[in-house]
Amino acid sequence: MSALTADAGVGTELFSVTRSVDRATLVRYAGASGDFNPIHWNERFALEVGLPGVIAHGMLTMGVAGSALTDWLGDPTDVLSYGVRFTRPVPVPDPGAAELLIVATIGAVDADAGTARVDLRVSVEDKTVLGKAQAQVRLH
């Protein structure tokens, strides 16, 4: 358990992890979320609409990054809010996988409010795929 404490310093890196996303991950997320848009599982369809191939659900990428944060924090309810911009699609090869690199740093601390802003940098092959990925987190 790594709950954030009030002496956390701005700029501190909290963790850096990689998570693999393959076609099976996409199928599993489609079923769990109810998002069956064929660009996330049908290569022919994805190519026809001008994509480089099957791409991950933006909400899957957001969810995986959020899970990395909540697993690190220990208590998922410490995340008070969480928002992202979807800036770049994540193609998922077959065979193979997209490797998401997730790096969390402290962007701001509001000791009076008892919260900190955690900035998540999420990239694939050195290209950032989420913009302004930020969570407000409770301090302990």
């Binding site: 998570r19 991950t25 599993r28 997320y29 079923g31 769990a32 979320s33 109810g34 998002d35 609409v49 933006g58 909400m59 899957l60 957001m62 969810g63 995986v64 959020g66 899970s67 990395a68 909540t70 697993d71 220990g74 208590d75 998922p76 309810t77 995340v79 008070l80 809010s81 969480y82 928002g83 992202v84 911009r85 979807f86 302004k132 969570a135």
Partner: protein, 153 residues
């Protein structure tokens, strides 16, 4: 050349709340947690969740999108919205939690159409889902922006 989209800005301010309530199950929470790699026992193990003070397992932070997207369909699919879903790209998403979603919750969603702005043939459509429990208390707010391309964009 870029054309205007067909997105109807007259619906800004409208609230859609006709989607039936969503009943949260422990099985669905576990499935979703597995799909996004959320390993906390609070998502998977009722005893662990109870030991932490919850009535049952709690949902991962982005789970509310399942409920929100279901409700947003009432707006997006309505003919008067003028949204061609094949031209939609998800631009941004945010969640503000008021309390965790817990297995057993029966949740109601009001979809607020907050903004429609159009520039260079792309309409940005901002919605906000206010998700409340049976007691009327807000559980989570979900804000979403969709980018809708016009026919020539």
């Amino acid at each position: 050349m870029t054309g205007m989209t067909e997105v109807n800005a007259d619906l800004v301010g409208r609230v859609f709340s006709g989607t039936p309530p969503y009943v949260v199950s422990a099985v669905k929470i576990a499935e979703f947690a597995e799909a996004v790699g959320a390993r906390s026992p609070l998502h998977h193990d009722t005893a662990a969740a109870r030991a932490a003070g919850h009535a049952d397992v709690i949902a991962p932070v982005t789970f509310a999108v399942v409920i929100a997207q279901r409700a947003e369909a009432e707006y997006i699919d309505s003919p008067e919205a003028g949204i061609d879903f094949s031209r939609v790209v998800h631009a941004n998403e945010s969640f503000t939690a008021h309390r965790p979603i817990v297995a057993g919750d029966r949740l109601h969603t009001a979809v607020h159409v907050d903004s429609v702005t159009e520039r260079a043939g792309i309409a940005m459509v901002g919605t906000r889902c206010e998700i409340t429990d049976d007691g009327g208390a807000t559980v989570v707010s979900v804000s979403s922006t969709l980018a809708v391309r016009g026919a020539d964009a």
